[in-house]
């Protein structure tokens, strides 16, 4: 296991006591692309900050490639690459120098640093902008430079904190490609996100986090299967009156795994789809069916099932 987290807790004592991380146990195996999925404020960034030696835990232990990040942070940093949420490129240095100096910090000789910088600029399609300053770059480009810089010293694990926050859809897809390529190079990637598509699309395994705790941890497909349904029907009803009656009726229907109430109506988890739609509509019509949405189970569904809340809330 390349990343091992045991009983991690982080409490911020202040005017308001905040428990940011509340007992996280986790391990990531080498070469994995691992995702922390959760809403804002779930404790993802704090967990990453502790793993990357930028915050001290209140309790618990984190080891990266066997090195304790609290006991020997400077050794651990050799194994870690970090791309934080915000742009931390050195504004006084060009793109080339940003990567070049990073290599020097990690003990490369000047010649090796030059070679490595040139190769990375090539690999991330940044060669043309080598002499530009960070302030002249778009968000997507800056993100690419940050990733290139973060892996310049050949870290074993790359931590990406909300890598697609603030990126336009096109840059986001380019970033996903870049991350997939890293994995081919054998770098373990741990990322945090509150976009369920991102976790679903990119990650081998996903831990869903809320209020500083891991709610569930598995592969995206296993998580989606755990919902136990092929389709989800969201019913938007005019009146919430008599809903229990409808719920009861639908639950007995063949092909329906479960039904739950929502703020606007009902959510039906369907096992099969054969002829079910018309029966659902038929049953719901007398209750003032306004609208009906059909979705396949997603990680969002899993999150809603576990917390009763939306990821965006």
């Amino acid at each position: 296991m390349i990343v091992e987290i045991e009983g991690l807790r982080k409490v911020y004592d202040g005017k308001q006591r905040v428990v940011a991380v509340d007992g996280i146990d986790l391990s990531v195996h080498e070469g994995a692309l691992y995702g922390f999925l959760g809403p804002n404020g779930a404790g993802k960034t704090t967990t990453i900050s502790i793993c990357t030696t930028r915050a001290l835990p209140t309790a618990g232990r984190v080891r990266i490639a066997g090195i304790d990040v609290v006991k020997s942070p400077s050794q651990a940093r050799r194994c870690i690459g970090v791309v934080p949420q915000y742009n931390t490129l050195d504004r006084s240095c060009t793109i080339y120098e940003n990567i070049h100096f990073h290599c020097l910090f990690f003990g490369f000789s000047r010649i090796d640093a030059k070679k490595r910088t040139e190769k990375l600029l090539e690999q991330f399609h940044l060669a043309e902008r080598a002499e530009a300053y960070p302030s002249q770059l778009s968000g997507g480009l800056a993100q690419r430079v940050q990733i290139a810089r973060a892996i310049a010293h050949h870290p074993k694990v790359l931590f990406l904190d909300e890598p697609s926050a603030g990126l336009d859809p096109q840059s986001r897809i380019a970033m996903w490609d870049a991350v997939r390529n890293l994995r081919e190079e054998g770098i373990t990637v741990v990322l945090t996100t509150h976009y369920m598509e991102e976790a679903d699309e990119l990650c081998d395994r996903v831990a869903i986090i809320d209020h500083g705790k891991i709610l569930v941890e598995d592969t995206p497909s296993a998580l989606k299967n755990s919902v136990g349904a092929q389709r989800i029907y969201e019913l938007d009803l005019r009146s919430m009156h008599d809903i229990p009656q409808l719920l009861h009726k639908l639950e007995r229907q063949q092909g329906i795994a479960s039904v739950e109430t929502t703020q606007r109506g009902l959510r039906i988890f369907a096992e099969g789809t054969e002829g079910l739609l018309s029966e659902v509509v038929h049953a719901a019509n007398p209750y003032g069916l306004k609208d009906l949405t059909i979705t396949e189970p997603s990680l969002e569904t899993v999150f809603i099932r576990l917390t009763g809340r939306d990821l965006r809330e």
Binding site: S74, R77, P84, T88, C93, F105, F106, G107, N181
Partner: protein, 289 residues
């Protein structure tokens, strides 16, 4: 790409194997220093202006313009009180100001930006080096700039004043010790200020810190001259700039009254330790959550 990547991973092995943690720290430290040198080289013009402007104008006004005015000496109370050449009083004082100001400009101001909006210090904090060493590097790099700034005052003080400066070095080792101690102390002062003051309030430090410690730092008058105002003479002893200017005074212009050298060295060491401790502690608090 996979092939290239495997070759690369092997290529990085020498640097990993290149030795002990000490070597790793040393190289990271050298890398940080080199980065700062690069940035300074690029901003050499603002640096020169920053370093020259204050002593140049000061010398020009007080030691060139005023003596040329009719009754200029009467307008210059310090020189009257001293019965000495004012340019001689100013030389060590202006060097002390140059040293102190470099510490503020090289550490405190950039830190305000790096801690503030951009957090660009993050990549340097992530060096394979104890975080305190990143702060120490800031202090040492600033000390280097301070020494340059102090050296610049020399030719200016030689050429600008209308009456020659009477400088005389008895003990070079003592002068170098004072210069280095003062420079490192001012770097530590810059670090302490840069890590204590909230980034958005950094503009205030000129009024709240820089001006008072300069004007009450025995820069424009020797400490003993304060003898008539006893409470102030005692009060200014908490100001590290006092020991910088008195130290340079005792090393460069020993004909003027000055504090005892042992006291100066002792107090500079005391402030160096105190400010380094405060600065590094503040730095750690800022970067480690």
């Amino acid at each position: 790409m996979t092939e290239l990547a495997t070759i690369d991973t092997e290529a990085s092995a020498p640097s990993a194997a290149s030795g002990s943690a000490k070597m790793q720290y040393l190289r990271a430290f050298a890398g940080l220093f080199l980065r700062d040198l690069y940035v300074l080289r690029r901003e050499i013009f603002p640096f020169v202006i920053r370093v020259c402007m204050n002593p140049m104008l000061f010398l020009f006004v007080f030691t060139f313009i005023m003596p040329h005015m009719s009754g200029g000496a009467a307008m210059n109370p310090t020189s009257a009180a001293m019965g000495q050449n004012f340019s001689t009083v100013l030389l060590p004082g202006l060097m002390a100001v140059a040293i102190m100001f470099s510490g503020i400009a090289a550490v405190a101001l950039p830190l305000a930006q790096e801690f503030g909006i951009t957090r660009e210090i993050d990549d340097r904090v992530m060096c394979p080096l104890p975080v305190a060493a990143v702060a120490i590097e800031k202090i040492l790099f600033s000390a280097m700039q301070s020494i340059i700034a102090a050296a610049v005052v020399f030719p200016l003080a030689y050429y600008i004043p209308s009456t020659p400066v009477v400088a005389h070095v008895d003990n070079w080792a003592y002068l170098i010790a004072i210069l280095i101690l003062a420079s490192v102390t001012s770097g530590a002062l810059g670090l302490t200020i840069g890590t204590t003051v909230e980034p958005k309030q950094i503009g205030l430090i000129f009024g709240v810190v820089v001006m008072p410690i300069t004007f009450l730092g025995c820069v424009y008058y020797p400490w003993t001259a304060l003898g008539q105002i006893r409470w102030l003479q005692i009060g200014v002893l908490v100001n590290p700039i006092v020991y910088m200017s008195e130290g340079l005074r005792s090393a460069l212009t020993p004909t003027l009254p000055h504090m005892h050298p042992a006291l100066i060295l002792g107090m500079l060491v005391f402030f160096l330790i105190l400010l380094t401790w405060l600065g590094v502690r503040g730095f750690l608090r800022r970067v480690i959550g």
